[in-house]
């Protein structure tokens, strides 16, 4: 599942398994988490930006709390909710045949929780900043609310939305605390930050340096991409 290209090919170009395996798991988990976060984060961001109902602030605060909480706290709650006895664990066993703690799916869930606030807040802000007169013009053209949202509002807010999704991806890719607690560092669920921690813990400084460098490069690419989004001409 986590090997996206053959090991022999990776070895032939000089990428050792101790880099590729955690990188592959990290990329795979972060991509899955970001896909889910993008769908629900943009949708909730739209509802919060355009809706007029009581409790909008409270909803945004609740979903944004992982930004302010230490990731270990998020990990602790996920571990006790997903892994502890109770209806959630029973549902996991019923649906997946086993609890989701110490699994790849558990990592994806942890990364969803950690990265969701970035997508939500950026999307909500970008959608709020769209000039409502464009939407009024679209409605006067006969476009329904749905078509106005899809053809006008979201495209006009796209730079902020894409920046939020990119930052969510970066957050998912770089998460350590929540992922460590929910995965327990088992081999099938060892991401790049956990692999780096293990390398340092076991004194493999050369491996640690390489793993840190790869993550440094990933962070640079993501942040550079986000900054470019802010500079390019909109249309």
């Amino acid at each position: 599942m986590t090997v996206l290209v053959p090991h022999s090919w990776l070895n032939s170009i000089g990428i050792p398994p101790w880099v590729w395996n955690p990188l592959s798991i990290s990329l795979h988990a972060a991509l899955e988490a970001t896909l889910i976060v993008a769908v629900f984060g943009i949708a909730l961001g739209y509802v919060l930006a355009k809706g007029h109902f009581p409790g909008r602030g409270a909803i945004e605060t609740v979903f944004s709390m992982p930004m302010a909480l230490p990731p270990t706290v998020v990990g602790y709650y996920l571990l006790t909710r997903l892994g502890g006895p109770g209806p959630i664990r029973n549902a996991e066993v019923h649906l997946f045949g086993h609890p989701l703690t110490f699994t790849f799916t558990g990592i994806v869930i942890a990364q969803i929780v950690e990265s969701f606030p970035y997508c939500l807040r950026f999307s909500r802000a970008a959608i709020s900043n769209v000039d409502p007169r464009f939407e009024q013009a679209a409605r006067a053209m006969g476009l329904s609310r749905w078509r106005t949202a899809l053809l006008v509002t979201l495209p006009l807010a796209r730079r902020g939305i894409v920046a939020g999704v990119a930052l969510a991806f970066g957050r998912a890719l770089g998460d350590f605390g929540a992922t460590m607690i929910i995965s327990g560092s088992v081999p099938m669920a060892t991401t790049m930050p956990i692999a780096l921690y293990n390398a340092v813990f076991f004194g493999s400084h050369e491996q640690a340096m390489v793993l840190a460098l790869v993550q440094l490069g990933a962070a640079f690419v993501i942040l550079f991409g986000v900054s470019r989004l802010g500079k390019v001409r909109a249309w």
Binding site: F134, A137, A138, R139, A140, M141, G142, L143, L151, W235
Partner: protein, 237 residues
């Protein structure tokens, strides 16, 4: 048939709008100083806002009736609208902007063909593949006029469509708006605070002041190139 029948009140802060008028085919101009309630009336007719009390009927169909709690949403009113700054969608080409307004759902190509026809009628076919950001103000308003008419509207609302343009372009667009609206046969309501514009464009001029209709006058025309009336100051003689 009455193209638009309006009896409404709306209070926003200290401002009270309380107007009643009916207009028929041709171009009806709401004329008066800034802050008189002209654009607010247009927003209420378009369904972008709700009145506090009253009724609005377009082509004999009630679209707002506060007493009966009838409120037809903007997209179902069959209106076309031209805003002061065009409000063309910046992420779409000129052709796409107009095609998006075509209500007949008989395929993308058919909608684009209708859009091309309207762009030709307003003299904007040459820049149909360009983005609105690369157009001049006058070009944008031509496209906005095509977009307003492409949806086969029952009524076109023009909210100070040329007031932000320089005088030469304004003259050019006045002629175009008059020609296109009369030839299309679609009734229009146009808002302006420019007396010359009101006279040149309107078949009927409705004077507005401080949220009230102060006068209503039919403009005498010998042909469609201009009015033969004395300048109108928005008040009854």
């Amino acid at each position: 048939m009455t193209a638009l029948d309006v009896h409404l009140t709306r209070t926003i802060g200290e401002f009270d709008l309380d107007v009643a008028f009916s207009v028929e085919s041709g171009i009806s101009v709401l004329f008066g100083p800034s802050g008189a309630g002209k654009s607010l009336t247009l927003a209420l007719v378009a369904g972008l806002l709700r009145p506090d009390t009253g009724t609005i009927a377009i082509n004999g169909h009630i679209v707002t009736d506060c007493a009966s709690r009838i409120f037809v949403s903007t997209q179902d009113r069959r209106i076309g609208m031209v805003f002061q700054d065009g409000l063309l969608l910046p992420h779409r080409t000129v052709l796409d902007n107009v095609a998006l307004a075509v209500r007949q759902s008989n395929g993308r190509q058919a909608r684009r063909a209708v859009a091309r026809t309207w762009l030709e009628r307003v003299g904007a076919e040459a820049f149909s593949e360009r983005r609105p950001g690369s157009l001049s103000g006058g070009q944008r308003q031509r496209v906005a006029l095509a977009r307003a008419l492409a949806g086969d509207p029952a009524l076109v609302l023009l909210d100070e469509p040329i007031s932000a343009l320089d005088s030469a372009v304004r003259r050019e667009l006045r002629t175009l708006i008059r020609e296109v609206m009369i030839s299309s046969g679609v009734p229009a309501v146009l808002v302006t605070h420019d007396a010359d514009e009101a006279e040149e464009l309107g078949d009927v001029v409705i004077g507005y002041n401080d949220g009230r209709v102060t006068a209503m006058r039919v403009v005498e025309r010998t042909n469609d190139t201009g009015s033969q009336s004395e300048p109108f100051d928005g008040t009854e003689p």
